[in-house]
Symmetry: C2
Subunit: 148 residues, 2 copies
DNA sequence: TTATTTGCAAAAGTTTTGCACTGTA
DNA sequence: TACAGTGCAAAACTTTTGCAAATAA
């Protein structure tokens, strides 16, 4: 059975909130979608399965998922809000292609090491972090990528 | 005389755009303001000096400054757009306090080294990068920071 | 039964755009 | 003179909120 669903129910119970069919339906759909979609795109996917679920419920649920640690909210380049499913803790790092806008996450423990060194020096207590690297992915930089 | 003004004029000439008093006034004011202000805050400061300069001109000018390399646009935590004066190239890194929302930039060459190593492994051509570290600044973490 | 949640529509906030007028090159 | 830039107001988006009805605990 679904681990994320369990996490959601657990979070709801702890926070004294209610388990509703909408919240669980939105979570199930969210988990099947690709990462880095906008609220609008997620809401459209939800609406395709159940047109009675409103936009505001999608907004409210996504915020809830972030609080429950099930999703991460991003504001890359454009300022457009997008969401990513999140498993375990810690920070994450992203390669963002400035041409095709594809996002590729990666992890590297060295970044946390550098972070900790800097934070110690500046008396800052880190919680989480993210490194965003903007540039061209191999596909867009390749010889066949002359067009815009 | 002002280096940034020179950069702006150079950029305008290169792009076949016109040098206007509004653009230069907005740049001058922008350079005197603190970093990480919203468009609205910047526009308010501009309006205080010359109430005939409209909001849309501020938006258009800030975009221009980013293109000219004179400003960086950010979308931290909130998704709210803020701007920072930018000197030289490369990436920049930020400690963002999740309590008081203060932003403290820092630089560390090790981050670029890690970035290059990862990019080589993933065939990604980096252009610029930014590391955002969220947590508590010394002031907010200190013993006298129990209130919210 | 009681408090939370939902869906809708309206409101609020942010950014962009159309257009007539102004100003630069 | 020609064309880019400006200011204003309207439009386009995105996100939040108020409220009556529905629903979980």
């Amino acid at each position: 059975m679904n681990e994320a669903l369990r996490v959601l129910r657990e979070h709801l119970k702890r926070a004294g909130l209610k388990r509703t069919s909408q919240r669980e339906a939105i979570l199930r759909i969210f988990l099947e979608l690709p990462d880095f979609l906008s609220v609008d795109e997620i809401a459209r996917a939800v609406g395709a399965r159940d047109r009675r679920i409103g936009m505001s419920t999608v907004y409210r649920s996504l915020k809830l998922f972030v609080e429950a640690g099930l999703a991460r909210e991003h504001h890359f380049l454009t300022g457009r809000t997008t969401f990513e499913k999140s498993g375990g803790g810690g920070g994450r790092n992203y390669l963002i292609c400035t041409r095709c806008h594809r996002v590729q996450p990666f992890e590297d423990p060295l970044i946390e090491a550098v972070r900790d060194k800097v934070c110690r020096g500046l008396s800052f207590t880190p919680d989480f972090n993210r490194l965003e690297v903007y540039g061209l992915c191999s596909r867009c930089r390749g010889p066949a990528a002359e067009e815009d």
